[in-house]
Amino acid sequence: MHTTKRCALALAVSALAMGAGSAMAETDSLTIVSWGGAYSDSQNRAYDEPFEEKTGIEIIHEDKAAQGLAGIRSQVEAGNVSWDLVDMLQSEAQRACDEGLVMEIPHDEWLATAPDGTPASQDFIDGTLGDCFVPQILYATMFAYNDEAFPGDKPQTIADVWDTETFPGTRALQNIPQKNLEWALIADGVPTDQVYDVLATKEGQDRAFAKLDELRDNIIWWSEGAQPPQMLADEEAVIATAYNGRIFNAQVNEDQPFTIMWDGQMFEVDGWVVPVDNDADIEAIKEYLNFATDSQRLADQAKYIAYAPARSSSVPLVSTHADTGVDMKPHMPTSPENFQNAVQFDPAFWADYGDSLEERFSAWLAQ
């Protein structure tokens, strides 16, 4: 283990020494940037290790996805791109693609077809493929609550979150405008399919902030994904927005009395982009993408983490949690009962309005 790591390092160094210009016929390693933690573990077990075994190409991991866009931008500007594949949120991938920082990907040419022969472009869930983006998983951000805080009625809807009379207690929300503004509008009665149309208008934005204002005194803000389950466990908050995988982990691995409120869940996909001018062999990247996003591999990933595969053909292949044996299907954001009132997060909207809404949100938050 140790020696292979050192070899990899030596290889990386010599690769650097040879310079980015020398196109290598045989790539024997790929540098992959992801989120680290449980998420990278799931990728590792579901497809990185099988891929290494199958091809002999070594995967070098860097856990820097949180600075993914900024990192690619600076590498491309510096003309020295060492990242070969980067795991990114769809909205960021959109920005990177717009700015020409990542390669356009011909989906049907590069990606595997479904077992029944459906081409890739039709197998991925609608609206999740991007020009430069191949989704892997679909995850949800939604409200969850601590059962013990509500011995009687449980909150059922987004509107209940705003009902501090019936459901008193602190709410923990993420300190970003994304999703919070959407939920504010939903709580104010905007139908889920019109949320983004309303939010694109000045009146709609005023309305969303006014609705958030109502809840302001009952909110504490989180910034890292690990915080909301902790806040629920400590009873610092009775209801919190969180990533569904984190809550699943608390429920199953830590036995916490948390319940996910699937109403108004906002789902978003996470997937791969390929930085332009990277120093790896394009064939190796193609091979990796083809392998890592095929139906079986994506279904396998759900054994290790409660995020849903982004391919329709993977859904029936999802089995049980590798460590606890829990059936993963009911924990998937995409399972029919959970998906009823789901809202798809709109990366294009946020690419258009993000700058301005983020500033307004910061200003609102600072008051």
Binding site: E99, G100, T170, F209, Y353
Partner: protein
């Protein structure tokens, strides 16, 4: 002291009164020559460090400052439009020539995949333009002249006068816009500088908040650190060693651990609140909110920065002999008076160094406010960090904010130097 100079052997004076050495070289020249060699040698010794500083410090800062005013997107990625729009007077919609130029730039831009960069830039000012330009660029191959009609038919955003005025304005390659934004000003659609709408004003508030909270933290560090440093400097060695370890302990634990410890202590279901409830000071439903707000930031940062106050104070106090205070008291001064008029002035170099360290560290602090600051307890650096993750335009705003922060620190340093004299400081 005064007579000593007269005793030195005098150099020979030449006829015109200039001093020379034995061989007739002017003394000043000879002196300079002998010093120059020593200086050159010293310079070679510091050269590696100098190079390191230039590469890792000065160059990035200079880059940061240049990029915060650079505005090449429109000029570089819409070159034809830039040329064509120069003749437009800014009223009504531009004529067909400008639209045609735009179409031409879009063809090239979508080929080179650079159109997104200019789209993002203009989108910073008019939300929605990104979609308009990207959508049009995608379809540009299937469109045909006359371009004005074709573009407007594709997206009515092309019929927005404000958009065109903005394009014309942003053809300049240098812009103060990010600095204007940093002070909550912006251009209106006629190119005049105006204050931003109230719901967008945040940066002035955050700069001021960062300054006063840093000041408060510095003050708390003085109030808490001074007695500790005094004890450290005056206790017998075996006790002071133990105390010193307690002071240094925070340095040996990770910042995140320390910050998390404060969360455990201060949160509503935390140790402090539990104890207050248990002691009957507050009711169970009246628990204080001491974290995820300004209190949390102030408490945690005071704790984290305290050693930076204590150590310079301690190093100065240790050099103050006991006899000063004794002398003052033997002359009739009360213990308090001796302390205030004799001891405290002697600690000024350490105090000033502590203040400088703590304040400058505090003003740029990031991680602790991010974790415990909640909404009102965050600093300007947290907004900078957030902006750095955003679009290129946001990145430039972050650079402008950072530059302002840097200048503010330099101004503080300059003022401080005027007041105290940095050459008098003792850091330990």
């Amino acid at each position: 002291m005064t007579d000593a100079t007269m005793d030195r052997p005098a150099a020979k004076a030449s006829d015109d009164g200039e001093l020379t050495t034995a061989d007739g070289t002017p003394l000043a020249v000879s002196l300079r020559r002998s010093h120059a060699q020593a200086r050159r040698r010293a310079f070679y010794l510091v050269l590696p460090l100098l190079a390191f500083l230039v590469i890792t410090f000065l160059v990035p800062i200079a880059t940061m400052m240049t990029r915060s005013v650079q505005n090449y997107e429109v000029a570089d990625y819409l070159p034809t439009t830039t040329a064509a729009i120069a003749d437009w007077d800014g009223t009504g919609l531009p004529d067909e020539a400008v639209y045609a130029a735009m179409a031409e730039d879009m063809v090239v831009g979508s080929e080179n995949r650079t159109i997104g960069r200019v789209a993002a830039r203009i989108n910073r000012e008019i939300p929605g333009v990104r979609s308009q330009m990207m959508g049009t660029a995608r379809d540009i191959d299937e469109m045909s002249p006359p371009w004005k009609e074709a573009l407007i038919a594709e997206d009515e955003g092309w019929a927005n006068e404000e958009f065109w005025r903005l394009v014309k304005r942003e053809t300049r390659t240098l812009t103060p816009i990010y600095y204007l934004l940093s002070f909550d000003f912006e251009y209106n659609s006629h190119g005049e500088i105006v204050e931003r709408p109230e719901e967008y004003q945040v940066y002035r508030l955050m700069f001021l908040r960062t300054a006063w909270m840093s000041l408060l933290i510095t003050t708390l560090c003085i109030v808490l650190g001074y007695p500790v440093a005094y004890m450290l400097a005056n206790l017998p060695l075996r006790y002071s060693n133990l105390l010193m370890i307690l002071v240094l302990l925070p340095f040996w634990t990770s910042l995140l651990v320390r910050t998390s410890a404060w969360i455990v202590l201060l949160q509503q279901q935390g140790v402090v609140n539990d104890m207050l409830v248990w002691a009957g000071v507050i009711a169970d439903d009246g628990r204080f909110r001491m974290i995820y707000n300004q209190i949390g930031t102030i408490v945690a940062m005071t704790h984290i920065l305290l050693p930076f106050m204590i150590l310079p104070l301690y190093s100065v106090m240790k050099t103050i002999p006991k006899s000063y205070m004794r002398a003052a008291r033997s002359m009739g001064a009360s213990p308090l008076r001796s302390f205030v008029s004799v001891y405290m002035p002697l600690t000024v170099p350490g105090l000033a160094a502590g203040v400088l360290l703590v304040f400058i560290l505090a003003i740029g602090y990031y991680i602790t406010p991010a974790l415990v600051g909640g909404d009102t307890g965050i600093f300007i650096s947290n907004l900078i960090a957030r902006a750095m993750q955003g679009s290129t335009a946001e990145l430039k705003l972050a650079l402008a904010l950072s530059t302002i922060l840097l200048v503010a620190v330099l101004i503080f340093y300059w003022l401080f130097n005027k007041l105290v004299g940095v050459d008098r400081l003792k850091f330990g």
